[in-house]
């Protein structure tokens, strides 16, 4: 097997707090691998260890065949890392930031331009604008350009689309798709479940523990509870009401609907219950879960 990443029994503590506990993950070359989980779950700690910025307390991480502690210099040349916080220089212009990163990696912008053309072309009209003055979507494009300019084999992206609008997010992920097609391995964390759905496999990390690793499709296929969507005029009132129903044990808002898991009874019994309580116009239907439903179910049941 040709692995881009291999973590074995990885653990890290900060004082009393266990940020990562016994993490085992393998990522194959060419994979688009997503990491999801609540804030403070350990995603960033994992990424920092893999980017050789943090040393684990226990266990072992192999990145592109190199040891994350002994061979960290070899790793750094071969990966592109985009941290969660915008890490470029605010008071340098777009062009100067790119020049700075290419000089650090000792590469020629012209020669490697093909690597970043699809992203950087959109930034060209603002080449002389200071990075701090760019909008959120443009900042992310610049950060990605700087992470790509040395043609890395592995890209590590820590929540690259947080604060980015819905349209720019789609464009960003289209770019990731084409990088993947060119053979790049991508490790990415995200709070957006529609993005998680675009990964080959996703890992879910909560309280430093790995809860789940699989493809989005298997995650959805393994959802075994009867999931329903309900709607009525005031969905918050509906939410509060459904929380009181004895056969329902997982209720949450989902866009214009309220989703819930119904146990033990058929849905006509539920409709009867609505009628008896005079809840008015509520419609319900059984639905297929999305990755978002799976995430909520996994988190709630833990």
């Amino acid at each position: 097997m040709n692995l881009a990443l291999s973590c074995t029994a990885l653990s890290k503590k900060f004082g009393e707090i266990s940020a990562l506990q016994n993490i085992n993950i393998d990522v194959e070359r060419g994979e688009l691998f997503g990491v999801i989980g609540p804030d403070g779950g350990g995603k960033t700690t994992l990424f920092r260890i893999l980017a050789t910025l943090l040393i684990p307390d226990d266990g072992d991480a192999q990145v592109l065949g190199f040891d994350s502690i002994k061979d960290y210099l070899s790793i750094r040349k071969r990966i592109g890392y985009m941290p969660g916080r915008f890490s470029l220089y605010h008071d340098l212009t777009v062009k100067e930031n790119l020049q700075f990163y290419s000089s650090v990696f000792k590469v020629d912008i012209e020669k490697n331009y093909g690597m970043i053309a699809s992203v950087y072309d959109q930034l060209k009209p603002f080449a002389n604008r200071r990075a701090g003055k760019l909008s959120g979507g443009m900042k992310q494009k610049l950060a990605l350009s700087c992470a790509l300019i040395h043609k890395p084999e592995l890209l590590i992206l820590d929540e690259p689309t947080t604060g980015v609008d819905a349209v720019s997010r789609i464009e960003f992920w289209n770019t990731l798709d084409s990088l993947k097609e060119d053979g790049m391995t991508i490790l990415v964390s995200t709070p957006y479940m529609d993005e998680a759905n675009r990964c080959d496999r996703i890992a879910m990390i909560q309280k430093g523990e790995l809860l789940y690793v699989d493809s989005p499709k298997s995650l959805i296929d393994n959802y075994s509870e009867p999931l329903f969507a309900a709607s009525s005029l005031d969905r918050f009132v509906l939410l509060n009401r459904l929380e009181q129903v004895p056969w329902i044990d997982l209720v949450y808002l989902c866009g214009q609907e309220v989703h819930f898991v119904l146990r033990d009874v058929k849905h006509d019994k539920l409709l009867e219950y609505f009628k008896k309580n005079e809840w008015g116009d509520v419609t319900i239907s059984q639905i297929q879960p999305t990755v978002e439903d799976c995430f909520i179910s996994l988190m709630k049941t833990r």
């Binding site: 349209v167 709070p191 479940m193 918050f236 866009g255």
Partner: protein, 248 residues
């Protein structure tokens, strides 16, 4: 929600220019008391500029802007005292405890010691964080920090609160808990002006406004807008409106 026809924000022909760049290009809209008003737009569409004007931090170049009864051109200090504001970059101090943060902001908003005591007791009880009172804010989980920041932003009981991407980078479960909090406050009569990049959250608003190129492209109830544009979700609506423009 209990919206009535009292406008708490009135914006008429608002223009804001920075040099030759027009960030807000002739905006006209009202926000009514008790509403949850969603303010959407692409990055760089001009949302932040508008919010800064509405919250008294910046002055319009042209137009009439009235917020909680005060004129944004001449009475920005009165606006600041009468609104709440929370952004995704928390305004809380990490190296103060929960209770110290509450006291600090209560003091800034001019509450008496007695009021601060009563409201901080109420607040920690409401959030169920009595056990975290003496913990440094930097040490409590992000989800709690967010709820605390929200509660502190309304400690002076403002009629209107601005939430600027309050759920940015937050996981699906925590986002939902946060929206239940927003809804609770709106039920009690506080007007909520909120921005978000999560289009499912746009569905939770009473009305939404979509900004593109510094102009209002759509304004109305989510269900009416979906009907008007013949789309099934706000996500689709947003994509259609924003995709058309040349974005910065």
């Amino acid at each position: 929600m209990q919206t009535n026809n009292t406008a708490i924000i009135e914006v008429e022909n608002l223009v804001k220019r920075f040099g030759t760049f027009t960030a807000n290009d002739n905006l006209t809209f009202k926000v009514y008391a008790g509403e949850i008003f969603g303010f959407l737009g692409a990055n760089g569409a001009g949302k932040t500029t508008t919010i800064r004007i509405l919250s008294g931090l910046s002055k319009p170049t042209e137009g009439i802007v009235k917020v909680v009864g005060f004129d944004a051109m001449k009475q920005s200090e009165s606006i600041k005292k009468n609104i709440g504001y929370m952004s995704q970059r928390f305004s809380l101090y990490d190296d103060l405890t929960v209770i110290e943060n509450i006291r600090l902001f209560g003091g800034i908003y001019g509450l008496s010691n007695k009021e601060i005591r009563n409201r901080s007791d109420e607040l920690v009880k409401d959030l169920g964080i009595e056990n975290l009172r003496k913990r440094l804010v930097g040490d409590i989980p992000l989800g709690w920090k967010q709820k605390l920041a929200f509660s502190i932003a309304i400690i002076h009981r403002p009629k209107l609160i601005f939430l600027d991407e309050p759920t940015g980078g937050v996981d699906p479960l925590t986002r939902r808990q946060f929206w239940e909090l927003i809804y609770r406050v709106a039920k009690q009569g506080t007007t909520v002006f909120v921005t978000t990049h999560y289009m499912d959250e746009a569905e939770y608003c009473d009305r939404i406004c979509v900004l593109a190129d510094g102009q209002i492209k759509a304004l109305g109830e989510p269900s009416n807008l979906k009907h008007e544009y013949q789309v099934t979700s706000i996500d689709e609506l947003f994509y259609r409106i924003v995709k058309g423009e040349d974005r910065v």
